[in-house]
């Protein structure tokens, strides 16, 4: 939760155009048979994924409503966090599965919150640390006036390594936008 104090790192877009173009070309070649991403079924859009992704469903981005997120693989973790009292059950889509679904072609995700907090986290945190994009808190959707709509969470209670500033800072709540680069 600290990075909001610093600025977001500057992007070197110019330098990356060529790389992204090649990446996208390769991606389309390799994922030619991948199922196209469905459009949200009319629910409120709670997440947009932009940047170096292969599968989009509108306006150059991938948009998700709750139903579309729920259609992805689902996982549940039970953990404590520094921002809640006691243990809670968190349900969501594994970051790895979400990134695979949008065909992410980068190393880093910039995650942004409604309260203007933003943080960069490695794309591999899903695979390496079991990061989850949570949409249910104890089985209930979360409101923006609480931690909603989405919350990137790590299984803090099961892996002591994760109980450090690095991962606490990546655990963005009020999450609504992700950019892959």
């Amino acid at each position: 939760m600290r990075l909001a104090k610093r600025g977001r790192p500057g992007r070197k877009r110019g330098e990356r155009i060529a790389a992204v173009a090649i990446g996208l070309a390769l991606l389309f070649a390799s994922q030619a048979g991948a199922e196209p991403l469905a459009k949200p079924s009319g629910g409120e859009i709670i997440l947009s994924v932009a940047g170096a992704i292969a599968n989009r469903n509108g306006d150059g981005q991938a948009f998700f409503d709750l139903a579309l997120l729920e259609s992805l693989p689902q996982r549940e973790i039970v953990t404590e966090t520094p921002w809640t009292k006691g243990r809670h059950r968190f349900t969501g889509v594994p970051l790895e599965a979400l990134m695979a679904r949008v065909g992410a072609q980068g190393k880093t995700i910039t995650a942004e919150a409604l309260n203007d907090y933003a943080v960069d986290l490695p794309l591999d945190d899903g695979k390496n640390h079991g990061a989850l994009v949570v949409y249910f808190f104890d089985g209930q959707p979360m409101l923006p006036s609480d931690k909603g709509p989405l919350w990137i969470l790590y299984p803090f209670s099961t892996d002591p390594k994760l109980r450090s500033e690095t991962y606490y800072q990546r655990a963005v709540w009020n999450l609504f936008r992700m950019t892959v680069h």
């Binding site: 939760m1 600290r2 520094p82 921002w83 009292k85 409604l114 309260n115 450090s164 500033e165 606490y168």
Partner: protein, 452 residues
């Protein structure tokens, strides 16, 4: 010589201290590592961060409310800022700990006041079906009233962070100090050990010097004794030769009869005693020469057969009227030996003399020789006399150690015969072996290289 040698007990105590200090060092280092890894900023400034974020969100909301009031309503953004403010309540609630309450007693009551106020604002918004624009006037007034207590929360959060940091730093310093003390103790102990080891080394060096000096003094004293014995023996021989010579003259009545027959008996006694004494003096001279390494020596080719015959004859001549029988079994066709003939004669005479001297009347003595290997000659002298016990067998080859056996106690001599025979054998490149069993006689075996 300075410090005494450190005793085994002290060593043990030292080792125990060393181990204890080492354990203390390891434990302190581990404690320090735990403390450092426990320094989590998130834990330390959770309250401060959340309180200040609450204040930030309030300020952002106030700004939008003021804009709306001034005729520029931004409905969506206003909704978001309102949600942002509400979303800050629970995290701050979760960050409150008993430690915070003990340290900042005003925090919890102030926060409760803020929560009540925000809940009332939320209720007001709900009554207007969530339409914030309609609630702008009231919300703006209440938000202004909220600013001072939220500011206080932020300040208290910061102060708590300061206290917590101080406390953690103090604990860290304490742990670093105890680690330093343990390490210092360990080093001091090792230094002390080094000092003791050095002192011991010097003491051992001094002792070694003293021992070397003592050894040299003992060697010198022994050499002086040997020289004295050699000179004494030599000096004794001159008058003895005169005594023996004149006794022989008298016994042979070379210049006419000595008168009363008893004088002749006496002269015979003088001659026997003189010869006996000369034998002893010769033995002492031999031993002292051997000890000082000054044995005169020549090497000649010696025919063992002839040497054996003359030695047997000499011993038989002085033996007690043939009471002991000596069998000479030395073959004539043996290769010759390259030794000092005087030494070989002395050896054989000594062995034969011993066998005859210690054997009871009627016992048998045998002198024999054979070629055992291609280039080795073995000579033996054996008897069927009383023999020697195993303990004594170890002693008879040391000078001045005549066997104190009751059976042979009556025999005269210094016990030098066998040691001399052994030393002379070895001096001439031979091996000397003595075996015996009590009641089964004694056997001496000598092995020399045959002359090529």
């Amino acid at each position: 010589m300075g410090l005494p040698l450190v005793t085994r007990n002290w060593r043990r105590i030292f080792l125990v201290c060393l181990v204890l200090l080492a354990v203390l060092v390891l434990w302190s280092a581990k404690e320090l590592a735990v403390s450092i890894s426990g320094l989590r900023a998130n834990e330390l400034d959770n309250v401060g961060w959340n309180a200040s974020q609450l204040e930030v969100q309030l300020v952002k909301l106030q700004h939008l409310l003021a804009e709306a009031k001034a005729g520029n309503p931004q409905r969506l953004l206003l909704q978001r800022r309102w949600d942002n403010l509400l979303s800050r309540i629970d995290p701050l609630d979760a960050a409150i700990t008993p430690d915070l309450n003990a340290s900042q007693p005003d925090f919890a009551p102030t926060f409760a006041e803020v929560k009540t106020e925000i809940a009332e604002m939320a209720a007001y918004v709900r009554v207007r079906n969530g339409n914030l624009i309609q609630a702008v006037d009231v919300l703006e007034g209440r938000a202004s009233a909220l600013a001072p207590p939220i500011r206080r929360l932020a300040v208290m959060g910061d102060q708590y962070w300061g206290q917590l940091t101080e406390r953690r730093r103090g604990a860290l310093v304490d742990k670093i100090q105890s680690l330093a003390f343990a390490l210092g103790g360990l080093l001091l102990l090792l230094c002390a050990n080094q000092v003791v080891v050095l002192a011991q080394g010097q003491r051992l060096k001094a002792m070694a010097g003293a021992l070397t000096k003592a050894l040299q003094a003992a060697d010198q004293a022994n050499m002086a004794k040997t020289n004295f014995l050699a000179r004494m023996s030599h000096e004794l021989r001159t008058p003895l030769n005169a005594i023996i010579g004149f006794a022989e003259v008298m016994q042979a009545e070379m210049f006419g009869p000595v008168g009363h027959p008893r004088y002749k008996d006496y002269s015979t006694g003088i001659l026997a005693s003189g010869r006996n004494l000369l034998g002893l003096v010769d033995s002492v001279l031999d031993v002292s020469q051997i000890e000082s390494g000054n044995v005169p020596m020549t090497r000649e080719l010696v025919a063992l057969h002839e040497m054996a015959r003359s030695c047997v004859a000499a011993i038989e001549g002085q033996s007690r009227g043939g009471a002991v029988e000596i069998a000479n079994r030395v073959p004539e066709d043996l290769p010759r030996l390259k030794v000092d003939p005087d030494h070989l004669r002395k050896i054989l005479l000594q062995l034969l003399d011993n066998a005859v001297k210690f054997g009871p009347s009627g016992c048998h003595v045998e002198l024999g020789a054979r070629q055992c290997d291609a280039d080795k000659l073995e000579i033996w002298v054996k008897d069927d006399g009383p023999g020697i016990t195993p303990e004594n067998l170890k002693n008879v080859l040391n000078p001045f150690n005549q066997v104190r056996d009751p059976l042979v106690f009556h025999h005269e001599g210094l016990g030098l015969g066998l040691p001399i025979a052994k030393s002379l054998t070895e001096l001439n490149g031979g091996e000397f072996e003595l075996s015996s069993a009590l009641g089964h006689g004694t056997e001496a075996r000598l092995r020399f290289d045959a002359a090529a």
